[in-house]
C-alpha cells in the first residue's frame, strides 16, 4: 500500500506544524498556489507505521551479508552516526562565520590531514558530494592544469575498458573525448595498446588500482612513466581504496589526483543510494586547482579558503561545503580505526576475498583470473554454468536473495561474461563467508536438477522477479489518484 492510499481529506499530524495558521493575506493573488500539492494527508502514526514497515522490506548491511563487488558494503559504525547527529553540528548554519564554527572546522581540517596521510597526496579538498563528483573535480583539475600552462591541444582521456562507467562519463562532462585501452589476459592494462594510444592529445589516464577485475595493476609505475612522459596526468579512481589502505598509497604510485569514496573505504552509510562523499587528493602540480572550499589552519584558527584565496581553483561544486554530515561520519570512523586500524582494513578485506575466492573455486566455480591474487574483491564467471544449465549469473543473484544473501554485483566488469563481482569486506566473519559458499553450491546443485525453479527465483521475498524491460516501456513514475 502506498502512503497516499492511507490518506483521507482533512487528516493531519497537528503536533508537527505551527498550531496557529498565520495570516498570509498580503501575498498577492498572482503568486498564490491554487492547486493541491498532492502530499498525503495521514496521521503521524500512519506515517510512522508505513515507513517502519517499508524499511523492513530492504536488505541492508545491518540485516544481511552484502557482498556487492565494488561497493564496499562494510559495517557502518553506529558511533559515527551518533557523532554526526550531535545537535551542535546539525544546527550549524553553513553561512556561520568561520570564527563561530571552529569545532566543526577542526574536524574537517583533521579529516583533510588524515586523508593526505593515507593517500600520500599533498592536498585534499572534501567538497565533492559523491564519487562521480570527485571524478569530475579530478578531471576538471587536469584540464585546468593543462590550460593554465597554455597546453590546449590535449583533448582526450584514456580509460581502460574495465573501468567504472563513471570514468568515461566524467571525461565527457569535462569536455574530453574518451579512448578505451584494452585489458590483457591477466587482467592488467595492455601495455602495447597503451603505448600506442598515448600521444600529444592525451590529457591523462583514469585508472583504478586494484582494477575492477579485482587484481592489482603491477606495472603501475611503468604506466605512470608512459603517461607522464607524454605530458598527461594520472587520475586514480579511489573506488577500490579499501583494498590497499595502509599498504600502498596512490601518491607513491605516481598519481597526480585521486578521489576517495568515503562511503566505501571510510564506511559512511550508503543510505539506499547516497549521500556519498568524494573527497579529492592532489599532488604538487594540482594543488592550486583544488575545488573550494578547503579548510586552512592559520595561527591556531581554522578558516575556509574560497576562490579569493585560490584564484586558480576549479571553483565550488555545491552551494556550501559538500556533504558535511558524511564527512563527520568518516572523520569519526577514521579516529576509531586510528593508525593501526587503518592498516588492518586492507589486510582483512584481502584475507576475506582470497578465502572466499578459494572456497568458491574449491566448490567448483571458475575465477576469472585464477592465476592472480584476489584483492578486496574478485570475479567469478558463470559462463560454463550458464552454457550447461541455462542458469545465468542473474539467476544466481536472485536465488541468493532467497538464501538471505544480497547478490554480488552482476555483469560487471563488462568484459567478463556471466560474471559476479564479489567483495566480502573486512567486517564479515568467516562463518558468514562459509554460509555464502554453501548457498552458492546449493544453487549449483539446484541448477542441475531444477533449473527452471532457479530461474524463477526469488520466492521468499515480498516480490518475485520483476520485468524491468516492461517497466521501462510502460512508464509509471508517480502515483495518481486514478491509478
Amino acid at each position: 500500500m502506498l502512503i497516499f492510499e492511507h490518506a483521507r481529506p482533512g487528516r493531519r499530524a497537528p503536533a508537527q506544524a505551527p498550531l496557529q495558521t498565520a495570516d498570509t493575506a498580503a501575498l498577492p493573488e498572482r503568486f498564490r498556489r491554487r492547486s493541491a500539492t498532492g502530499l498525503p494527508e495521514v496521521s503521524e502514526l500512519q506515517a510512522v507505521r508505513h515507513y517502519t514497515r517499508l524499511s523492513q522490506k530492504n536488505f541492508s548491511i545491518d540485516t544481511h551479508f552484502y557482498p556487492l563487488g565494488s561497493c564496499t558494503m562494510k559495517y557502518n559504525p553506529r558511533g559515527s552516526n551518533a557523532a554526526a547527529m550531535l545537535d551542535g553540528f546539525l544546527s550549524l548554519h553553513p553561512h556561520t562565520p568561520d570564527a563561530h564554527a571552529q569545532g566543526m572546522l577542526a574536524c574537517l581540517y583533521e579529516l583533510q590531514e588524515m586523508l593526505k596521510g593515507v593517500t600520500g597526496m599533498r592536498g585534499v579538498s572534501l567538497t565533492p558530494m559523491a564519487g562521480a563528483q570527485g571524478e569530475f573535480a579530478g578531471v576538471a583539475m587536469i584540464r585546468a592544469y593543462h590550460e593554465a600552462r597554455g597546453d590546449h591541444a590535449r583533448t582526450e582521456i584514456l580509460v581502460p575498458d574495465a573501468a567504472h562507467g563513471t570514468n568515461p562519463a566524467t571525461a565527457t562532462m569535462c569536455g574530453y573525448g574518451v579512448r578505451e585501452i584494452p585489458t590483457d589476459s591477466e587482467g592488467d592494462v595492455d601495455m602495447e595498446a597503451l603505448r600506442a594510444a598515448v600521444d600529444p592529445q592525451t590529457a591523462g589516464i583514469m585508472l583504478t588500482n586494484p582494477s575492477t577485475l579485482g587484481v592489482f595493476e603491477r606495472r603501475i609505475h611503468e604506466i605512470a612513466a608512459i603517461v607522464h612522459e607524454a605530458g598527461g596526468l594520472l587520475y586514480y579512481d579511489g573506488a577500490n581504496l579499501n583494498a590497499i589502505l595502509g599498504k600502498v598509497r596512490p601518491g607513491d604510485m605516481g598519481f597526480d589526483v585521486i578521489h576517495m569514496n568515503l562511503h566505501k573505504t571510510f564506511s559512511t552509510p550508503h543510505g539506499g543510494g547516497g549521500p556519498g562523499a568524494g573527497a579529492v587528493g592532489v599532488g604538487e602540480r594540482l594543488l592550486p586547482f583544488m575545488p573550494v572550499p578547503v579548510v586552512a589552519r592559520e595561527s591556531g584558527q581554522y578558516r575556509l579558503l574560497t576562490e579569493a584565496d585560490m584564484p586558480q581553483s576549479i571553483g565550488r561544486l555545491s552551494a556550501f561545503m559538500g556533504n558535511v554530515g558524511v564527512l563527520l561520519r568518516a572523520y569519526a570512523y577514521m579516529r576509531m580505526l586510528g593508525h593501526e586500524g587503518m592498516q588492518r582494513v586492507a589486510e582483512y578485506a584481502t584475507l576475506n576475498a582470497n578465502y572466499l575466492a578459494v572456497r568458491l573455486r574449491d566448490a567448483g566455480f571458475s575465477l576469472a583470473y585464477p592465476q592472480r591474487r584476489a584483492t578486496h574483491e574478485f570475479v567469478v564467471t558463470l559462463k560454463r554454468e550458464a552454457k550447461e544449465t541455462g542458469v545465468t549469473a542473474m539467476d544466481y543473484a536472485k536465488r541468493l536473495l532467497d538464501y538471505g544473501y544480497h547478490a554480488p554485483t552482476t555483469y560487471f566488469p563488462l568484459l567478463v561474461p556471466e560474471c559476479l563481482l564479489i567483495e566480502p569486506t573486512e567486517t564479515e566473519a568467516r562463518e558468514d563467508l562459509d554460509g555464502f559458499v554453501e548457498s552458492m553450491a546449493t544453487i549449483r546443485r539446484e541448477s542441475m536438477s531444477e533449473a527452471d525453479m532457479v530461474k524463477g527465483a526469488p520466492y521468499r521475498l515480498p516480490n518475485r522477479r520483476f520485468d524491468e524491460v516492461r517497466a521501462a516501456r510502460e512508464l509509471d513514475l508517480r502515483w495518481q489518484p486514478s491509478s
Binding site: L2, A13, Q16, A17, A22, R34, S35, T37, V42, E44, H50, Y51, T52, L54, K57, N58, I61, D62, M73, N76, N81, F89, L90, L92, H93, P94, G103, M104, C107, G117, G120, M129, Q133, P168, H221, G246, V248, H270, G271, G274, P275, R316, L317, M321, G325, A332, R335, G338, G341, R344, H406, T427, A429, R430, G456, P458, L461, P462, F466, A472
Partner: protein
C-alpha cells in the same frame, strides 16, 4: 581490531585454506618499492567513547546562536520521527536498490518521493534526487542543452538575483562543455529580474535556456508567469529554481504562465534536512514527461513481478553512466538516498496542511520582523514582494551589524556584501516558523543596539 571479527583461529584456518602463511603474502603482487612506509598524519585509535567525547566537545565548542540566516539553507522543525526512521539500519545501511526484490522499501519510498515532488512542483516526472540544489541546476542546464537542439549557441540566461553560489557551481560544472552563462541584470528598485534585459535574446535560437529563481536570492518573488511565457514564445527552455517549502503557498512551476516550465530544480533541504553546516542536502529535479529520457539521475518506476504483483524498480537505466558510459546523460550515479528517505517521511508527516502552516508562519514571521526592523532604521532594500527572506538596508555596513549581534548570540543575517560590494550595507534575513515572537523581540532589541553602535 575495530570492526574486524576475525579470531586468531579464523585467520590461521583461512590462511591455510588459501595456502599462504601470512596475510602479507596476499600482497605479494604489489611491487615492493611501492609499499607504504606508514600512514603519516593518522593518530592512534580512539575508542567510541573517546571519539564521542571528542566530538561532543567539538560540537559544543562554538556558542549556539539564534539563527536568522537563510540564503540557501533554512532552519525548520523536523519531526523527531523523521530521522529516527530514516536512520533505521534497513534504510541507513542499504545500497542503491539495484536488486529490486531485496529493496522494495527504498524503491517504494522513492516512488512516493517522486509523486510528492511532482505534486509540489506541478510537473509530470521527478528523478530520485541529485546532490544538491546548486549542482541540480547545473544538471538542468546540461539537460536543457540536450533538449534544445534549435539553439544556435549554448547560452543560458541567468538573472543576477540567482543565488551566486548556484551560479558559480553551475558555471564550474558546465563551462567545459562550451556552455556560457549569460548574466541578466536585476532591477535595483524591485530586486527582480529586469524584463528589458530579455529583449536581446528574443530571436529564436539566441538562448538555450532561461533560469528563474522563485523566491530569488533576495527573497523577492519574480514575475514568473510573464517570464515563463516569454521563454515558451522564444523556444527557450525554461528552468525554475525553487524553494520547495514555499510551494505549499506559491504557484507551482508547472502552472507558471500558459504552459508551465520545462525543468524544475531546487534544494530539498527545507523539507527535512538539518542545516548541518551545508550538507548533506539533496537536489530535486522534475520535468515534463516528454523530457524524461534526457533527465539525469536515477528514476523509480512501478511495475509487476512474475506473479503479477505490483512493485517498484529502477527504470530507464539506459540513460545512466553504468550502461551508456561516455554517452550517458550525466556521470552521476548516486542520489542522496538517505536524505530523500528522511524528506519523504517529513513530507508525509507534515502533509499539505502542515507544510502550508510552515510556509505561512515563515512568511508571517519574516514580514513581522521586516516591519519591526523598519521602525528601528533597517528598511527593505527592494520593493518587490518577498516571501520568507528579506533584504534589509542598514545605515552601516552589514558586516559590522552581524558581528555586533553575534555578541548577543544572534546570527543576524547574511551580509550581501560578501557577494556584491554594492550591497555591503544590505543584510538578508530569514525568520522561519522556528522563531517565536520573543525571538523577534530579541532580534529587534539587538538590532537597535547594533545600529546605534
Amino acid at each position: 581490531m575495530p570492526f574486524i571479527p576475525h579470531t586468531d583461529a579464523d585467520v590461521r584456518d583461512m590462511l591455510a585454506a588459501i595456502g599462504v602463511t601470512d596475510i602479507e603474502d596476499l600482497f605479494d603482487e604489489i611491487p615492493a618499492a611501492l609499499r607504504a612506509k606508514g600512514l603519516d598524519g593518522v593518530p592512534p585509535a580512539l575508542s567510541e567513547m573517546e571519539t564521542l567525547r571528542l566530538m561532543r566537545e567539538r560540537a559544543g565548542q562554538d556558542r549556539p546562536m539564534l539563527n536568522f540566516i537563510g540564503a540557501g539553507a533554512y532552519e525548520h522543525h523536523i519531526p523527531a520521527a523523521v530521522w529516527e526512521i530514516a536512520t533505521r539500519g534497513e534504510f541507513y545501511s542499504a545500497y542503491t536498490p539495484y536488486q529490486a526484490e531485496a529493496s522494495q522499501g527504498t524503491l517504494q519510498l522513492i516512488y512516493e518521493y517522486q509523486t510528492m515532488m511532482t505534486g509540489l512542483t506541478g510537473m509530470e516526472v521527478s528523478n530520485a534526487s541529485l546532490y544538491d540544489g546548486a549542482s541540480a541546476l547545473a544538471e538542468a542546464v546540461l539537460m536543457a542543452v540536450r533538449l534544445n537542439r534549435r539553439a544556435k549557441t549554448r547560452k543560458v540566461l541567468v538573472p543576477a538575483s540567482l543565488n551566486p553560489a548556484w551560479r558559480a557551481t553551475t558555471h564550474n560544472i558546465v563551462h567545459n562543455q562550451g556552455i556560457e552563462l549569460v548574466d541578466l541584470p536585476c532591477d535595483p528598485a524591485s530586486g527582480r529580474l529586469d524584463p528589458a534585459a530579455l529583449s536581446a535574446y528574443a530571436e529564436t535560437g539566441a538562448a538555450t535556456a532561461l533560469v528563474v529563481p522563485q523566491p530569488n536570492f533576495y527573497g523577492v518573488l519574480e514575475e514568473v508567469d510573464a517570464l515563463s511565457d516569454w521563454a515558451a514564445r522564444h523556444g527557450v527552455i525554461m528552468i525554475a529554481a525553487v524553494n520547495p517549502m514555499t510551494l505549499a503557498l506559491l504557484k507551482p512551476p508547472g502552472e507558471w504562465g500558459e504552459s508551465g516550465v520545462d525543468i524544475v530544480v531546487g534544494d530539498g533541504q527545507p523539507l527535512g534536512a538539518p542545516l548541518s553546516y551545508g550538507g548533506p542536502y539533496y537536489g530535486f529535479m522534475c520535468t515534463r514527461k516528454q523530457h524524461v529520457r534526457q533527465m539525469p539521475g536515477r528514476i523509480v518506476g512501478r511495475s509487476v513481478d512474475a506473479d503479477g504483483k505490483p512493485g517498484f524498480v529502477l527504470t530507464l537505466q539506459a540513460r545512466e553512466q553504468h550502461i551508456r558510459r561516455s554517452k550517458a546523460t550525466s556521470n552521476i550515479c548516486t542520489n542522496q538516498g538517505l536524505v530523500v528517505t528522511a524528506s519523504t517521511i517529513h513530507m508525509a508527516i507534515l502533509g499539505p496542511d502542515g507544510l502550508a502552516r510552515v510556509a505561512g508562519a515563515s512568511y508571517a514571521n519574516t514580514h513581522a520582523l521586516a516591519e519591526r526592523a523598519a521602525e528601528v532604521g533597517a528598511r527593505r532594500a527592494f520593493a518587490g514582494e518577498y516571501f520568507h527572506e528579506v533584504a534589509l538596508r542598514l545605515p552601516r555596513k552589514a558586516a559590522g551589524v552581524c558581528e555586533a549581534m553575534a555578541a548577543d548570540g544572534i546570527q543576524a543575517g547574511y551580509d550581501l556584501g560578501r557577494v556584491d560590494p554594492a550591497l555591503s550595507d544590505v543584510m538578508l534575513v530569514c525568520a522561519t516558523e522556528t522563531k517565536t515572537a520573543d525571538d523577534i523581540d530579541r532580534y529587534i532589541d539587538s538590532l537597535k543596539r547594533a545600529l546605534k553602535g
